[in-house]
């Protein structure tokens, strides 16, 4: 009887807590996306540029139409003016930016990303979804691979090193940690220099051979070959700092009283590691892992640019260069939602697994 009561009360409190979190997250995303809309539109200035573009292209069109050759100049100008007005009204550019920004926001938040202004996907579609969808796998493949390698290698190595604390290997790895001060693209330049120019054994950039091989296996092999250098660059730049911080983390947790207690009882080292060190530290490890998966594309712009990798980062860079606001906002909105969903999942996970959080925040 009391057990079910407690459960019901806990569930009630949990759903209240989660409800509040969803609301807070939604407000957060809305404000974040709205700020992005303002920045990406230069506070409305991009629309002035667009208006000018429309004016030039309409004027060009009218002048090039042989049917308009006989029109007197002022009638022709009137025709141009009319068409420009139509086009501006069709795109809603006659309203002040502050109204339109609200409209952009509503569309972005409901994930109606619309059509790009002048970019198109390789398949020829103007839909923002199609454009982003075409580039997303490339980024996921590259950064997913690199981050997975870094994560598992670092956690595994850190566990081992924390057991052999103070050994020569341990000291070497710690001594190498400052090398992570330089980002991946920086090591990328060196790797390209060495393995693509001095000893040309790997491609300097791109994602697949040109022209792409017909055979699926050959295609996969070619992609794998192109991935080696960027993945290596990311791993080199992150691995030592990752091992360093995980090692510190494990060292702190393996000096807890309950671990000493287990050691005193004479439990085998493997068991202690699994049950007494890894189990209580699982939450921070999972948190770190999920946030890493989400954060993977934030550094993508420059690394993809250096390796000429056709991913989201390159796309965003091109979109910003061409002032293609729908694509920029689309990218940011998708990122924001992914981040929010991750944070929310983590909240649920913490609420379920951690008794201290289960009671809800004080």
């Amino acid at each position: 009887m009391t057990a079910t009561n407690t459960l019901a009360r806990n569930l009630g409190r949990l759903s209240l807590f989660l409800g509040k979190r969803v609301l807070a997250l939604l407000v957060t995303i809305t404000i974040g996306v709205y700020l992005t809309i303002w920045i990406a539109n230069m506070g409305g200035k991009v629309d002035e540029i667009r208006e000018l573009q429309i004016r030039t292209s309409v004027a060009q069109e009218v002048r090039n139409n042989p049917a308009n050759n006989d029109l007197p100049p002022n009638e022709r100008n009137q025709l141009i003016q009319e068409r420009v007005q139509n086009e501006i009204q069709r795109l809603g550019l006659d309203e002040p930016f502050i109204y339109r920004s609200g409209d952009y926001l509503a569309r972005a938040m409901s994930l109606r990303l619309g059509r790009a202004q002048n970019m198109s996907s390789d398949a020829g579609s103007r839909q923002v979804y199609a454009i982003i969808g075409e580039r997303l796998p490339a980024t996921l493949l590259l950064f997913g691979t690199a981050n997975l390698i870094v994560f598992f290698l670092a956690v595994g190595a850190a566990l081992r090193l924390s057991r052999r604390y103070g050994s020569r290997l341990d000291r070497t790895v710690i001594g190498l940690a400052p090398s992570s001060a330089a980002p991946g693209w920086f090591y990328g330049i060196f790797l390209i220099l060495i393995f693509a120019f001095i000893w040309p054994m790997l491609p300097a950039g791109g994602m697949v051979r040109v022209p792409p091989p017909d055979n699926d296996w050959a295609y996969a092999l070619s992609v794998a070959k192109h991935m080696v250098l960027p993945v290596a660059a990311m791993v080199v730049s992150q691995i030592f700092i990752a091992i360093y911080s995980w090692r510190t983390f494990f060292l702190i947790h393996s000096s807890e009283d309950y671990v000493e207690m287990a050691r005193a009882k004479g439990l085998p080292e493997r068991l202690i590691e699994r049950r007494y060190i890894l189990r209580p530290t699982l939450l921070p490890i999972v948190t770190n892992f999920l946030l890493m998966l989400i954060g993977l594309w934030s550094g993508a712009i420059i690394l993809e640019q250096v390796f000429n990798w056709p991913g989201l980062g390159t796309l965003l860079f091109q979109a910003i260069g061409q002032r293609d606001t729908p694509v920029i906002i689309g990218g940011v909105v998708i990122f924001a939602y992914l981040l929010a969903v991750t944070v929310f999942l983590l909240d649920i996970l913490y609420a379920i697994l951690d008794p201290r959080v289960r009671g809800g925040p004080k």
């Binding site: 920045i39 990406a40 090398s179 510190t248 940011v332």
Partner: protein, 443 residues
Amino acid sequence: MNRWLDGLKQLRDYPSALAGLAIITFLVALSVYTVIAIPYGTAIERWRGGEHWQRNPVNAGPVWANRLLGGDLPATQTVDSQGAERTVEPFPGGRRISMPLSLDFQAGDFPSELSVFLQADFEERQPFVRLTWQRPDGERIPLGSYKIGAEERIALSQDRALQRRLGAPAHVGLFAEDPTAAEPTVQTGTHQLIVDAIVFEEDADVSADLVAYGQVHGLAGTDHQRRSLMLALLWGTPIALAFGLIATVGTTITTLIIAAAGVWFGGWVDAIIQRLTEINMILPLLPVLVMVGTLYSTNIWLILAVVVALGIFSAGIKTYRAMLLPIREAPYIEAARAYGAGNGRIVFRYMIPRILPVLLPTFVTLIPTYVFLEASLAVLGLGDPSLPTWGKLLNAAQEQSALYHGFLYWVLEPAALLMLTGLGFAMLGFALDRVFNPRLRSV
């Protein structure tokens, strides 16, 4: 205070910290020297290119690198007429001035270009100059005759007629044993450029400089616009340090104060700070910076301002909050309240100083992150348009396909300085971390 001094004394036990400190001292000294030796205005003026660099070769590597690898590529040699033996023969209506410029050429390869710079001092009638080349074996080759103005550059290597006559461009044709051979060899020894000038006025005079542009040049080499990379390497140092330091100070200190205020006041203040931090986490830093750089301006101070503005409510607030929360409940804070300390006093004198030692390592390791951020933007082509920086050298090298053409120095020099900065601060930061971080000291 004692705690700080003790900690700093302990640093002596860490060789990596000393190495880091040495590197940082070197970089700071280099910055101070640069700012004094080449004033800001001059540096920007020169980096714009043009006149100042016309006696530098195009795309020449550093001399020392070539010598270290055992090469004997020619360095730039300049011979001026000041030291030359002048013979003056007056004739009715003018004078004939003859000056041989001797060039002792011993390198194993040809110069990359050959030019003569002539300066004339006259009132109305332009002097007339005839140039003749005399090779070590005594052969004389007439180069041509020119009517010259006050400042004249005669680019012998670009003289098509001369090239046809010699069978190769002047810098090869004049120096080769046999210019028409498939792989011509260099004729070493003393070459002479004989400048015969005829001036028509009483006070008129002519002076000449012969420049045999090297294939290697100076300590740092040159780029595609003949600019010495040294200028950008030198000026990149104070800019990188200033950017890194200001961005770090700007972000950490504001973040710390805000976090401390949030923890101390709690309630809605804390809630608002938390929400702002979450909003800020959604805005991806690099894309926003790229947007600002592309759409507004690439001025480095504007970018710095945006970096600081976006860094104020950074994820660091969450970390600091976690550190400050237990401190709020500490007895000494209660004691402070009991004697009537105000909110400001508690935040600034009691809470923040308490976690400063723990933050010092983070602070030091954060500096290179911002140095590299500036370089990243420059590599993306969003560097400040007028400032010479390390990142802009990398960007220029990439645009000119330096790696493809084998101009490795162009990439390696700025990269080495960037790496040095990163390592210097990171090594000091990691050592500080072990000294000041109590959690690490216990293990």
